[in-house]
Symmetry: D5
Subunit: 149 residues, 10 copies
Amino acid sequence: MSLRAELTEKIVRLKIERELSWSGLAALAAGLSKEFVTAGLLGQMALPKAAAEAIGAALGLEPFEIRLLQEPPYRGSLPTAVPTDPLIYRFYELVSVYGTTFKALIHEEFGDGIMSAIDFRMDLQREPDPNGDRVAITMSGKFLPYRSY
Amino acid sequence: MSLRAELTEKIVRLKIERELSWSGLAALAAGLSKEFVTAGLLGQMALPKAAAEAIGAALGLEPFEIRLLQEPPYRGSLPTAVPTDPLIYRFYELVSVYGTTFKALIHEEFGDGIMSAIDFRMDLQREPDPNGDRVAITMSGKFLPYRSY
Amino acid sequence: MSLRAELTEKIVRLKIERELSWSGLAALAAGLSKEFVTAGLLGQMALPKAAAEAIGAALGLEPFEIRLLQEPPYRGSLPTAVPTDPLIYRFYELVSVYGTTFKALIHEEFGDGIMSAIDFRMDLQREPDPNGDRVAITMSGKFLPYRSY
Amino acid sequence: MSLRAELTEKIVRLKIERELSWSGLAALAAGLSKEFVTAGLLGQMALPKAAAEAIGAALGLEPFEIRLLQEPPYRGSLPTAVPTDPLIYRFYELVSVYGTTFKALIHEEFGDGIMSAIDFRMDLQREPDPNGDRVAITMSGKFLPYRSY
Amino acid sequence: MSLRAELTEKIVRLKIERELSWSGLAALAAGLSKEFVTAGLLGQMALPKAAAEAIGAALGLEPFEIRLLQEPPYRGSLPTAVPTDPLIYRFYELVSVYGTTFKALIHEEFGDGIMSAIDFRMDLQREPDPNGDRVAITMSGKFLPYRSY
Amino acid sequence: MSLRAELTEKIVRLKIERELSWSGLAALAAGLSKEFVTAGLLGQMALPKAAAEAIGAALGLEPFEIRLLQEPPYRGSLPTAVPTDPLIYRFYELVSVYGTTFKALIHEEFGDGIMSAIDFRMDLQREPDPNGDRVAITMSGKFLPYRSY
Amino acid sequence: MSLRAELTEKIVRLKIERELSWSGLAALAAGLSKEFVTAGLLGQMALPKAAAEAIGAALGLEPFEIRLLQEPPYRGSLPTAVPTDPLIYRFYELVSVYGTTFKALIHEEFGDGIMSAIDFRMDLQREPDPNGDRVAITMSGKFLPYRSY
Amino acid sequence: MSLRAELTEKIVRLKIERELSWSGLAALAAGLSKEFVTAGLLGQMALPKAAAEAIGAALGLEPFEIRLLQEPPYRGSLPTAVPTDPLIYRFYELVSVYGTTFKALIHEEFGDGIMSAIDFRMDLQREPDPNGDRVAITMSGKFLPYRSY
Amino acid sequence: MSLRAELTEKIVRLKIERELSWSGLAALAAGLSKEFVTAGLLGQMALPKAAAEAIGAALGLEPFEIRLLQEPPYRGSLPTAVPTDPLIYRFYELVSVYGTTFKALIHEEFGDGIMSAIDFRMDLQREPDPNGDRVAITMSGKFLPYRSY
Amino acid sequence: MSLRAELTEKIVRLKIERELSWSGLAALAAGLSKEFVTAGLLGQMALPKAAAEAIGAALGLEPFEIRLLQEPPYRGSLPTAVPTDPLIYRFYELVSVYGTTFKALIHEEFGDGIMSAIDFRMDLQREPDPNGDRVAITMSGKFLPYRSY
């Protein structure tokens, strides 16, 4: 297990033991969203220094661990190429089913290129609905055109 | 190649030859979104009868093909488990990087359960931006709770 | 090994050492089935608080472990995509052999959609039979229709 | 594509063109269930002679094809080890999530052994439910004990 | 490493340290074959109580370990789907080369069905031969017919 | 599809159309077993000239095809590394479960080396049994010792 | 084989039959590099209209094929995830060996982010060398920073 | 984890704790590039003795570890065949998209052969650009011709 | 199937129909070994012009096919990463078993680097032996040192 | 990690710490080649008793470890089916590129059968060459014919 993966496991354990929440932890990182901070604490983003220090203090992390939170991690949060967890699999399924649709419609609207997964932000909210509340996710990624050269 | 995959390839060929667009074809299907109709034409959704007939007529499809468009397809639009196309890979990358974040935040907000990929809709738009326009995707899936029994 | 996987292993060890049974443990969780509780103790379901505490006390688990039993786990109980254990493989074989039959008959009866694996319950019983008793499994999953949008 | 796979594709095409149903075809096979006959027509079971002839006549199959329907097929109905179709994936997910639970409870009730996937029958029905109808599946497989020797 | 895998490793170590043999250990299990007992000690079969206790005493195992030997294990003795060890690979190769032949001849003799790998026994002997002794393996598995229903 | 795979498919089709049996075809090949000849007709062994000509004449094969039957084929009869067909899978399962047992017992009896899958013969018979007939397979492979050098 | 893959194969055949070169074909596409045009003709880039028409005329392609060359392709030029061709494998090997070095040095120089493979250009030249000429490749990709949000 | 992988992890930890940089460490290795030295410290190259000793002293490594740095490592820096980290994946994507282009153009310029990944050097620099700085990589590998024999 | 793979299949068919041998065909290519020429005819090497023309004439190939034989092919002669054919598998097994030994001894003798598979030649001969003739293979590949830079 | 793999790692560590060489260690095993002994020390061959004891004494191994060196190991020296280490990959590449050539030429010379990887020996030497020294490997494996039965 890598250094960062060990740290993620420690954070998960501390969060449960201290009965904390991801959004509560994110609230300690002024100006950052719960999505970005949670990803950072789960080992997928480099946290800004202030955020790492504030959250590290709240969790009682070691100085080395607080510094590690600020390093760009080796990304990839899943143990298998096709995820086994049902919640995460549904997102994989959307890629599998809608992948060529994403491609067709983005090319039609923007021309050849991609939606960036780097210059990207997302927001996850509860959408009240009389037939059962819904998960509403908005994603925004910069369009990056392929250019001929 | 399955019957439906052959039909998808035929539709792609006709669309290019006749210089049509996915949204133009979707406009023939009253009341349906471009996202749903494109997925149907790419072999991932069963089109309602009226939509299949209107678009089938516009493309000059055979009666059997128009009926085939209305059948639930064997879904999965990608030739490999990890997609090679860069545009589609970026969506896979989001699942890989943000998968555990999706899981953490949805469980925190809703409890144990998943976001449905069946009772689901999505919308893809251009988001103007002075630093380069962005792809804006909104997804809405019903939350389905695990229930003890 | 994740925190939850370590806990599963500990529970398996305790159950053998103390000569307990899964249905005996499940009986401590009022109102819950042996199927649900066993899945929870094997790290696949989040147990309700009362159940986690009653069983945790019986097994002598730590407070952190009792809380961990209530967390939605990263699901997936098998070490390989195709299971090697013969008992479990037979279920995989049923999916492999009858998969397209499930699909054909459910679509014929219900239209396009799926059987939910979330809003789902099952029951496993001994079916006496003069030619050798049988395993009888009944599954019930809500039908979720794909809807056009 | 194998001979049997080509025949399956031909049967699927004929069924759609002639607007037939799987249960309608199965009704031509006296004494056989819709589950068994559909699996046979989809290339996964060997149909008894009478069934093959009755259905073959209704579909207008060639004599060789009617004989091929009676041959034990090379089983396995899915193009990938992990199925991509959402309806079929849910069954795979049940194996992934509940696999160790099946194992624990069957061993507890029956001792060491397996549930046969050969001496097996199943039945798939609509279960009316005010919260949305459910798919009810009952499976019955002979328990086969491992014996020491 | 699972509890049972750790026990297997411990048994292998003890067997080497004490210069024991598999058939010598099996001889302690009255009425059982060397094939069955070795498979049990290698973590693939559940040993009967008397056998587990006799061998456990000889090896100096802990009470928990002796009980663990009697539990149905999660079977699968190989670290990869295609075995790398040449001796074991040759058996895999026989399946790869003769698989369709097994299928053709068993179906021709018995009709549709399988040879059970559960109601199964085998015997491995030295077959003296002037051109070099041979490994003689006899396998006997109950034929299980697919039945229509 | 390779030349030999096409020929195998043609032979399978002819055998069904003419209502022949594998053992009947093998009887045309004087002095050869049904196991070896069937493997040859299924594309896994090179048939001797006389056998290829006798069977080729009976099936009405072309001269090129009769010659092709005598060529060493690219062996491997299965479409996937882990076979999906239940009959064949059971043999794979035996390797998976008993692999390390084969290894332990052969090494104990013969020392370091392997059982040859080349200097190998096998015989498959029906073994009558009041509890249900059994498939009896005897395998005999030369032991090949690793030698130090 | 997809429509675009068939076109790629046709172009390769025409190029050999007519004894053309990739750089000769690229020279017909004013202002475009040999790297970009070759990638387009091999089915990996969408060619600008003028380039597709000039080269299409030179090769005698059909109007549909000329239009197809202008469509964004489903990218991925290799038949396996790990390439088998030695020339291409060496590039995969560089990623395998130097991957973590690329990551360490780019993060050190630029902070967290990636080198774009979309806003990217490259140039491949012969580098004369008395010990044997060398292949010189220069790559230039825009740095895209991860931004917190 | 191998001996060398443990050493890599230790070096990464020390570098973060002591707030060192890869180029700073490389500067201790007179005459060597930052690319080569970083790859060595990440377990992919054998460092020359002087470099290993200078850097080992700076990091406070044990004598065995300094010697280990000079051993040719078992190369391969990535945990999966297709890398999950986005920065590294982009390089894999370049191989996937441009692989056949590399092949076409190198063969056209040099004839049949490969670019060596052994007699190879590379340089990674910041390329200032008003639209956003770029990562500039130059690679130089000796061309190795296939020769007939 | 690629153009070159189709040509390989055609050559194999012609060789059998005309009862030719690989070494007989290689003898038509003055100065080239049977190993190199056979690899070329099997689609793995680019044949020199004279060789392609001489052999092409003998086999009655088309002009395009003769030119195709001179093109560097997309190498990789096997349909699966782990070969299923027993003869070829034995070579894979040698790599699997002796891989780390090759590495240890070559590094010990030559230092860090590799044996080239490009600047490589080999020779395959019968080695008479009273205990059964042997296959003798000699390989010679240039040692290519990793150099620091 | 298996018992034998741990021992291999320990031997590698001792060899580096004590600045020993593989051929130096092999010289302690009278009458054995450096290739065989190195493979044994790397966990791929069972060493004869005298060799294990002589080398074990030189390295200071425990009695259990010396006995373990004499056991037939679970062979397979590589962590992945396709090796990532460039030196070892080149041998895999030779199998991939020349596999069908090996097959064609061995069948042509010997008839149907294989080259044994068990009754096998090899020798690895430096071949001086003015253009750069070469690695010369000679392999000798007994030809084993398939026999009809």
